[in-house]
Symmetry: C2
Subunit: 196 residues, 2 copies
């Protein structure tokens, strides 16, 4: 009995294991995790990785895509809070804090944020509308617009600026309290200048 698109069950199981191992290793080691390492953790041979993903790049992309989906739900959650009546500036701040939190435990997530940074200009409307990256960009964009409308963040801020700021937040290489202060400072700096 075949599954899905006529793919054997063991193949699907292996694919899942590979993705799981890749997620774990990329999370702690970053994108320099080796194919050998990933294969070993997945309990398969390297060749199997290549049956499922044409190149390392594609495997990493799959992992990053996964993180991007998490990013999308984080950003959409923040936007939902605003729709429910929360001040957009505060929600944006919360979003920063949540993102920073994940950075500390998941380097793959940070990589994903880097992609956001790179692609925000090009992909916001070009990409398929349902893409995780497009959803993230859309939600942040709307959050930003509302916060600016409410006068809670500086009017000159762009979506790309936010992506850069998000990508600049340090990960686990910086101690927790220092990281928290970093985020505090950025959030405070987002407010409009006192004397415009």
């Amino acid at each position: 009995m075949l599954h899905d698109g006529g793919v054997r069950v063991d193949a699907q199981r292996n694919r899942a294991r590979i993705l799981e191992a890749a997620r774990a290793l990329v999370a702690e080691t970053g994108v320099d995790a080796t194919m050998e390492d990933i294969a070993r953790h997945a309990g398969v041979a390297v060749g199997t990785l290549y049956r499922h993903f044409p190149a390392k790049e594609d495997l990493v992309a799959a992992v990053v895509e996964d993180s991007l989906a998490q990013m999308a739900s984080l950003t959409e959650g923040a936007l939902a809070a605003v729709h429910a009546g929360a001040p957009p500036g505060v929600s944006l701040g919360e979003l920063f804090r949540e993102v920073a939190e994940r950075y500390a435990s998941d380097r793959a997530f940070k990589s994903a944020a880097g992609h956001l940074d790179v692609d925000v200009d090009s992909e916001i409307e070009a990409a398929a509308p349902g893409t995780a990256i497009a959803r993230s960009a859309l939600a942040i964009s709307e959050l930003l617009r509302r916060a600016q409308l409410a006068g809670e963040v500086r009017a000159d801020l762009t979506l790309a600026d936010l992506a850069v700021l998000l990508a600049a937040v340090p990960g686990a290489e910086v101690p927790r309290d220092s990281r928290a202060r970093f985020v505090d400072i950025v959030i405070a700096g987002l407010a409009p200048a006192l004397h415009p």
Copy 2:
């Protein structure tokens, strides 16, 4: 006729060329510049690099040390301005702007800032007092102390925090105006909270 410590003139000339080439390549490519590349730009063979520097690490360290010296004069300049009567908070802001400016044109300089980040805790008093890294740390530390005394920056900020912030400033991969806004935001965020 020998120069300096009994070193042949051609050897000294080559050493200078190597350092110059390494500076240029590390500035634009980052620390991943290859030894082959550096040798070619210097007009020597790779073996010559190894006569002057035991390992790539040492060559890179020499380049970084050079950038660290620039960092030291920048920080000491900012401190001097304060001694001359400038508000310490403003000087600190200026320092950030100047550093960001150099990042854009010199990746080696940014690497150097990363080392500052790592070493700030350990080396501030441990290193030989005259070291560029120690001078930088000392000047920033004093700048911070004065700014806090004047109530111009948040009291909970530490030297390590500033190092992290400095290291987080983006380089040339981010357009000039976005970079400027980044720095603006950080500087604004350095101010004490309105309601402590």
